[in-house]
């Protein structure tokens, strides 16, 4: 059975899948790949089901050695894979042989790449998922990012073949300037009209504080409505009685530096949220590297549902394009 030996771990490489559901009310977030589209493509390229576990690679790639032959694919951020030093394409399945070493060139665009291997990573399942959730020590390898010396087992029965390619039109664009669609709400009534306009009119810059829990942006100060704090909320005008946080919700502690909560988010807390990123655009946030210039664009629920349908259609076209 083929396994992957970790020779160098990269910056923060984790095992991820589509995440776990049903435990958020106990403080256990869904986790799973931050960009959901790229790993689904990678799995399709190597003949896996969408639920197969992959490696999520952040900013700097790992160095991996294969103990047997395998078919792999790398998607997501632009970070060229190499086999024994020779370049390999992204968005295309290719074969590796026993003893081959896979590493990566430096990151050119985007933030997170995904490595799928035919058969899927066969690491431990916790609460129905292999997704790594570090704070809760769940999933992955002992609930942590991979480390030098780890051996990642690969599942049996992979049916992948090399040479599958995703057409360019179906690949996401990794841009330095992005628009992220949001539905306003939650506690946006705590903003003045000016504060609301500032939120939507500012070109925000992603700070280096951008990880699986949340993405923090700089660029403006949101004016909040003066008020007498309700019992239990705390003194700052941006405080609320601790409430649940939707994944994708944008909180603004103190009215500065909006934070988009992502798939490893804390499940609740005492800061007002003013909007929620639509589910599909969490992929755009996931691929934002620090300094990415970001506009939050308001859409209503009906538009968000329309965009959701468009995304499903795109995924269907992706599968059609990769059919044998």
């Amino acid at each position: 059975m083929t396994a992957i030996e970790v020779r160098k771990p990269g910056l923060s490489t984790t095992v991820q899948d589509r995440g776990r559901s049903g435990y958020y009310h106990l403080g256990i977030p869904p986790s799973g790949a931050l960009d959901m589209y790229s790993p689904e493509v990678a799995n399709a390229l190597v003949g896996n089901t969408p639920d197969a576990a992959v490696l999520e690679i952040v900013y700097m790639g790992p160095e991996l050695r294969f103990t047997g032959p395998a078919v792999v694919a790398v998607t997501g951020a632009e970070i060229a894979p190499r086999v024994n030093g020779e370049a390999r394409p992204q968005w295309e399945s290719f074969a590796v042989a026993e003893g081959d070493v896979l590493d990566f060139d430096y990151l050119k665009a985007g933030a997170r790449a995904y490595l799928a291997v035919s058969g899927g990573l066969d690491t431990r399942v916790d609460l129905g998922s292999r997704a790594t959730y570090v704070i809760g020590s769940l999933g992955g390898v002992d609930g942590r990012p991979v480390a030098e010396g780890d051996v990642l087992p690969v599942g049996d029965g992979g049916t992948g073949r090399p040479g599958r390619v995703l057409p360019a039109a179906l690949r996401p664009v990794m841009a330095k300037d992005v628009e992220v669609r949001v539905v306003m709400g939650l506690y946006d009534h705590r903003l003045t009209d000016t504060g609301r306009a500032t939120f939507l009119d500012t070109t925000w810059t992603l700070t280096p504080v951008a990880d699986r829990m949340g993405f923090r942006y700089a660029g403006g100060q949101l004016e909040t409505v003066d008020r007498e704090p309700p019992f239990g909320a705390g003194q700052d005008p941006s405080n609320i009685v601790d409430s649940p946080y939707p994944i994708g919700s944008i909180q603004v502690p103190g009215g500065v530096e909006p934070i988009v909560l992502h798939r490893d988010a804390v499940s609740g807390g005492g800061y007002m949220m003013v909007a929620t990123v639509i589910s599909g655009d969490l992929d755009v946030v996931a691929q934002s590297a620090p300094r990415t210039r970001t506009r939050f664009v308001e859409v209503d629920l009906e538009t968000a549902l329309g965009l959701r349908a468009e995304r499903k259609d795109r995924i269907a076209r992706m599968y059609a394009a990769l059919g044998d």
Partner: protein
């Protein structure tokens, strides 16, 4: 008191039952989410009750959002003021070593982030809440039970709201800037909420003590965790019991050996009789622990 409904993107509905914290608002959140959990319509992914609000994650491809929202409003009507609702709850006893050496060492390391660098967290909390001293404060903190009003922030962390009238609520601010470290199983306090830190990590709540009782076990090797990784559930009523260092050491040794069990008793909780006579009701409630 009518609820406020809001969309959280295309997958979440967020419902604020009240702007301010109260046991009644929390009770409504628990009651409504319990009803929803019992019916469990297809397409529901997460049901998260919180202190005075709740949220649901759903799949809009399965559940039409506007119809689902109307259904949640109907559940709100059914629960009403929640005064007639009873909940199946648990009474849980949590031993606490107040002013323990580990949280004391940690809080001393972070004095520069505190409102009162010359006092410990518990001395500060006792003073600003008008108690004569730390012992009297511990008496109030451990004297009446706490309703688990929310589980979350991180894996298995319970927020607890004390079951006393508002004029007897303890209120303390959070640290001026959060700490980067908190010992596992620290009993913390922020705003009107007590918490137990389930895992070691960052935190902004004042630190009063530590419990030897594990409340999170991701490997599920300990006897209280055969069914789940998380011990505390919304609706659990917690009685803190002060213990001394000897009892702590003994319990800690049993916890490390995987032999520690948390004392738990099932009870039915009625809101109206509690509100009519909190002290009498609490006294009867805690008799089940005897």
């Amino acid at each position: 008191m009518s609820a406020r409904y809001s969309w959280g993107g295309d997958e979440f509905v967020f419902v604020e039952l009240a702007e301010e914290m109260s046991l009644q608002a929390n009770f409504k959140a628990v009651a409504i989410t319990n009803l929803l959990r019992d019916e469990r319509p297809d397409g529901i992914l997460e049901i998260c009750p919180a202190n005075a609000s709740y949220q649901v994650r759903y799949d809009p491809d399965v559940l039409e959002p506007h119809a689902f929202l109307a259904h949640l409003k109907e559940l709100e009507d059914r629960v009403g003021d929640a005064l007639g609702v009873t909940l199946d709850c648990r009474v849980v006893e949590i031993p606490v070593l107040y002013q323990d050496p580990w949280t004391t060492e940690t809080l001393m390391r972070f004095r520069d982030r505190h409102q009162d660098p010359d006092a410990t967290d518990i001395e500060y909390a006792a003073r600003i809440n008008g108690f004569a001293g730390v012992d009297e404060f511990i008496g109030a903190h451990s004297g009446s039970p706490w309703f688990t009003s929310m589980v979350g922030f991180v894996a298995g962390l319970p927020f607890k709201y004390q079951m006393v009238p508002r004029e007897r609520q303890i209120v303390v601010p959070k640290y001026l800037r959060p700490r980067t470290d908190t010992p596992k199983q620290t009993v913390g306090y922020g705003g009107c909420f007590s918490c137990i830190y389930s895992v070691r990590g960052a935190g902004g709540y004042q630190m009063f003590g530590i419990t030897p009782a594990p409340i999170y076990d991701p490997r599920q090797t300990k006897p209280d965790f055969t069914e789940h990784t998380v011990f505390m559930r919304p609706g659990d009523m917690v009685k803190f019991r002060p213990i001394d260092r000897d009892e702590y050491d003994d319990a800690q040794a049993r916890a490390e050996a995987g032999e520690y069990r948390i004392t738990v008793r099932p009870v039915e909780f009625d809101l109206q009789p509690f509100l009519d006579d909190p002290d009498g009701y609490n006294k009867r409630l805690l008799e089940v622990l005897a």
